[in-house]
């Protein structure tokens, strides 16, 4: 069982992801450069955060058209587990693996803080082991999730909303929404449930020393999907 941690020029959460997977989750992992054209030998894909290709044009736009992402699209279509955090989420949306897009935060500021998430569905391995209320760090300037109203309706009907920003007691409110995302959405699933994208960083919440361990419940999804 082995997870590919993708690396683009400008990725900066790749080492965190590798460390969290191998040291804290006991999952084998290896870096895969964006020019690679094969994911042979891998059972999962982690698309890490950062500023791939300098965020030129749009966040994730250039990365989503890279060699390795074309493989990730095929890998996901075959049911392989794919997780994108932060810039990784933006890349998955740009690649068309997830609905919607991420825009500049409503309050025009980069936000770096811990937030609370409510786990909204249990239908995917990505969310089946997550805590009801997840405490997890965010660090982004462009995390305002937007999607067309009719798509949002369809996503709700199909339980594709994975996580919403909430207050400590689990209520969605304007004060707990750090970036102006529609309906407080922090993470979404594809229809099949094997692809998850979220703005928060599960790889930065895998040991008490880092401030919390709630990220482990999400990263456990790699094992759960791969075991299927």
């Amino acid at each position: 069982m082995k997870v590919a941690v993708l690396r683009f020029p400008g990725s900066n959460c790749d080492q965190d992801a590798f460390f969290a997977l191998t040291e804290d989750m006991g999952i084998d992992a290896a870096y895969v450069w964006h020019e690679e054209t094969s994911l042979k030998g891998f059972d999962g894909v982690f698309v890490p955060g950062g500023f791939s290709y300098g965020d030129y044009l749009r966040c994730g736009a250039m990365a989503s058209r890279s060699n390795v992402m074309q493989e990730v699209v095929r890998f996901a279509a075959d049911g392989g587990p794919v997780l994108g955090a932060c810039n990784g989420f933006q890349i998955l949306c740009e690649a068309g693996l997830l609905p919607g897009a991420l825009l500049l935060n409503e309050q025009q500021k980069f936000v770096c803080q811990d937030v609370f998430l409510k786990t909204e569905t249990r239908r995917s391995p990505w969310t089946s082991e997550a805590a009801d209320i997840v405490r997890i760090p965010i660090a982004h300037g462009e995390g305002r999730y937007v999607v067309e109203p009719e798509d949002l309706k369809r996503m709700e009907d199909r339980a594709q909303i994975a996580f919403r920003y909430v207050n400590a007691s689990g209520t969605v409110d304007a004060e707990s929404n750090p970036n102006g995302s529609v309906d407080g959405i922090a993470g979404v699933l594809n229809e099949a449930g094997n692809v998850l994208g979220l703005m928060p960083h599960p790889e930065r919440a895998t040991r008490t020393m880092l401030g919390g361990t709630d990220g482990k419940g999400i990263l456990k999804g790699f094992e759960l999907v791969m075991a299927k």
């Binding site: 044009l57 749009r58 736009a61 500049l104 409503e106 305002r144 102006g180």
Partner: protein
């Protein structure tokens, strides 16, 4: 990579990419507030877009449209207009 020489034969396309009107433009809002601070009290809403210029061996609107759809604009959040520059 093909290089196009700066001769009179070069065609150019200009693409204007803007955020859909239904979406809040955070950058535009910041620019509006900055202009108002500078004393331009007549300023209302500001929207910021992108202008992309492309040199081409020959201009084909269909091909440029394909470029927009495949990379230059994201249909989920943006609209684009294509112009040939002569």
């Amino acid at each position: 990579m093909a290089r196009i020489s700066q001769t009179i034969d070069v065609a150019r396309a200009q693409i204007l990419v803007t955020l859909k009107p239904s979406l809040l433009d955070s950058a535009g809002r910041t620019v509006a507030s900055s202009l108002q601070n500078l004393g331009f009290t007549e300023v209302g809403e500001v929207r910021v877009g992108k202008l992309i210029e492309i040199e081409l061996a020959e201009f084909s609107e269909a091909r440029v449209k394909e470029m927009c759809e495949k990379l230059l604009a994201n249909p989920v959040i943006e609209r684009f207009e294509i112009k040939e520059i002569v």
